[in-house]
Amino acid sequence: MNHAFKTTAVAGVTAMGLLAAPAATFAAESLTIVSWGGAYEESQRKAYYEPYTEMTGTEITQVSKSANGLAGVRSQVEAGNVTWDVVDMLEGPAIRACDEGIIEPIDHDEILKPAPNGDSPSEDFIPELGECFVPEILYATLFAYNAEMFDGDNPSTVKDVWNTADYPGKRSLQKIPAGNLEWALMADGVDHEEVYDVLDSSDGVGRAFNSLNKIKGDVVWWSEGAQPPQLLADEEVSIATGYNGRFFNAQVVEDQPIEIMWDGQLFEVDGWVVPQGKLTDEVKQFLRFSTDTKRLADQAKYISYGPARHSSAPMVGKHKETGVEMSPHMPTNPENLKTAIPKDAVFWADKGDSLSERFNAWLAM
């Protein structure tokens, strides 16, 4: 009996080993595209990936790891074993990755499609067209609240967020300094246009942290973009920062009682980068396809992020599922831009490390 057991066990393990080997080396015609997960990646899937697969037959493997995108690209390049083909990244990390030489420089006019009116890509895209970066969308990090928790007297400004006496409930902020310091200054009376001037001095940073101190005890910190809408919906917090597209999704598609507050929206650019050695014809084809005027406008049918091409703006229509008119929900809508802060990517690339350290020390206090 022992013998029989042994033989089957050995045979079984060997068979598994043989099965495992081809699975491990399996590779078809495919692209591995890294993005942020959740409603955002879903909008990319519908607007870019699915039509692309239909057109070319290329399978797209989705990886939701953009939150650690720079770390991933760096370790893969250092390893000489790059498995990611295209990575969705914010402008700040993209600048840093480009400086380190771990992502490919991109000749926008050669690779990308011109606008329908013949404008070249470098004219048609917004100015944040970095050396290694193809912008996709403009999105905003901003405050939203659960309207059911405020009996009609809803918060409307960043100052209200700091006013926990009149607007009770916990707050949820992202566990990074970027954004929080800007808003802390706004809550402390700094004009939205001057936040970076103030933050550039050590006194200004101190002032921002002092202001943050006032609500520190009421904050639940989030780290993944999917958390804030959930925290609001579960009434774990009454006001949260988050990405405007995710809030839109919770508000309009899932019909949650969530309202967006546009005061002090912090907008920045998100786009594609290509890790070192991956700028193949296939990848070029994908970039060309996914960032043409129509695709970028299409994506806005699924999520409320502003397309990064001027020529896409007029084509933005109604939300696919609900038929809601999209433009009032866009961070780029002039109505929403009145007190907006354009995120200073260069400031954060320079000061981000030391401010993060100080922020972590402050959190741990």
């Binding site: 650690n68 720079l70 770390a71 760096r74 840093r96 990755a97 480009c98 400086d99 380190e100 030489g101 420089p105 566990k175 101190g206 942290f209 639940v220 910190w221 579960d234 009434e235 774990e236 260069v346 690339a349 320079d350 000061k351 490390d353 030391s354 401010l355 993060s356 350290e357 100080r358 972590n360 020390a361 402050w362 959190l363 741990a364 206090m365």
Partner: protein, 424 residues
């Protein structure tokens, strides 16, 4: 050995084996053969562990003090800076070499490697380097010193150069200093960082006291249960043992997620407390995403590691000792404390070190239910690996933790012996 090949009959007093060779020699030889055979059996795994495990850890320790970025990208500058006395501003030769190599680095697109390294100690270095590198393309000939100061006045600041000189040397203690909230000041002396930047000493202490607390909790909860299990009839204790072993064998993530389900403010426990009127619905206590969450979750996860060794020690203590103490007139408490407890010390020791070592390096549970006040040192190692990308600092923090754990393991080994570890 050769002279024994043709052994003559014994003319001396040496004891000989059947083949005529001296018994001592042949014993020694067979002993050596046995040793070699034993070593050969262990060798494959030994080599495997060396390669797949020990080498990576050695590599990490090396990363904690070896940081050759500047030397790699700007080799000549690094050499010149090493020879320079560091007084005031460097000579034109260093400016010229630096300008040439920086322009080259710009072409190779690896300025960022250097500037990132300097940016950790000098915020703003990133744009200083990349901006200068770009503009150097327009400078065709020297002297480079005024040209560079023209591009950015920071190049006329002696402090920038003394930092550069210090950072250019590939072996550095800077990351260990950062890991304990110290730094080099402008004069190159070691000083504490500003109080609002201090974090790691606090984190190490928090990790230590939380590990101690969790160890104490597991002793407090584990002792009575182990005692019960060790003294019940085998059939009953085997049944109850399932209640210890099932959690032990259940996935860590399963247990962590169930604590989320139980402890969150809309969770099971709060619902029960509200239903019984202990708390009002609007005033649900926060029991997760803070220290409490981490402590409760980790105590639960590590409790079996205390119960199992304690149980096996208690199982070996004859109940007659306690009875003898009682019959000699000791009251139950005295008998228990003075006679029974001392005999369980080896079990408490083994369990404590096991729990303590495990909790001091715990990552998953604090990451998921620790919030920001329940984060431990391992969470910051992960943070520097993935978010801040300061891999050298991650390595330095990891190395400190490693030395602490190896020290504890050494003590454990002395006290209990590694092969005394029992499972299941």
């Amino acid at each position: 050995m050769a002279q024994h090949e043709s052994a003559t009959p014994a003319a001396d007093d040496v004891m000989r084996a059947a083949d005529g060779k001296p018994l001592k020699d042949s014993l020694r030889r067979s002993m050596r053969r046995a040793k070699t055979k034993a070593l050969l059996l262990v060798a494959p795994l030994g080599l495997f562990i060396l390669f797949s495990f020990a080498l990576p850890i050695a590599d990490m320790v090396k990363r904690s003090f070896y940081s050759p970025e500047i030397q790699n990208v700007l080799p000549e500058t690094a050499e010149l800076l090493g020879d320079w006395d560091g007084d005031g501003l460097p000579p034109e030769q260093i400016y010229a070499t630096f300008a040439k190599e920086l322009a080259q680095a710009d072409e190779n697109r690896n300025v960022g490697v250097v500037s990132q390294r300097v940016n950790y100690v000098m915020p703003g270095a990133r744009s200083l380097f990349s901006g200068t590198a770009r503009k150097l393309g327009n400078v065709d000939s020297g002297p480079y010193k005024p040209a560079m100061i023209e591009i950015d006045e920071d190049w006329g600041d002696p402090e920038v150069w003394s930092i550069l000189k210090r950072e250019a040397y590939p072996i550095t203690m800077a990351y260990y200093l950062s890991a304990v909230d110290l730094r080099y000041n402008a004069a190159g002396e070691i000083e504490a960082v500003a109080s609002y930047m201090q974090i790691y000493q606090k984190l190490f202490w928090r990790t230590l006291w939380m590990s101690v607390l969790i160890t104490v909790m597991t002793i407090l909860l584990g002792f009575p249960v182990s005692y019960l299990l060790a003294n019940l009839p085998v059939r009953t204790s085997n049944l109850l043992m399932i209640l210890v072993l099932l959690p032990f064998w259940t996935s860590l993530l399963v247990r962590t997620s169930s604590w989320i389900v139980i402890l969150q403010s809309e969770g099971v426990l709060n619902d029960v407390l509200v239903t019984f009127g202990i708390f009002s619905n609007d005033n649900r206590p926060q029991m997760i995403y803070n220290k409490i969450g981490t402590i409760v979750g980790m105590t639960h996860i590590l409790l079996p590691f205390m119960i199992l060794p304690l149980y096996s020690v208690m199982k070996g203590i004859p109940p007659s000792y306690l009875r003898a103490a009682r019959s000699l007139g000791a009251n139950p408490v005295v008998a228990f404390v003075r006679v029974y407890v001392p005999q369980t010390i080896p079990g408490i020791g083994a369990g404590s070190i096991l729990v303590f070592i495990l909790s001091i390096g715990y990552y998953i549970t604090p990451a998921l239910i620790g919030g920001s006040s329940g984060q431990l040192i391992s969470n910051f190692i992960a943070y520097h690996m993935q978010q801040s990308l300061n891999w050298h600092l991650a390595a330095a923090l990891g190395s400190i933790l490693l030395f602490v754990v190896l020290g504890l393991y050494y003590i454990y080994n002395k006290l209990v012996g590694a092969d005394a570890l029992k499972l299941g």
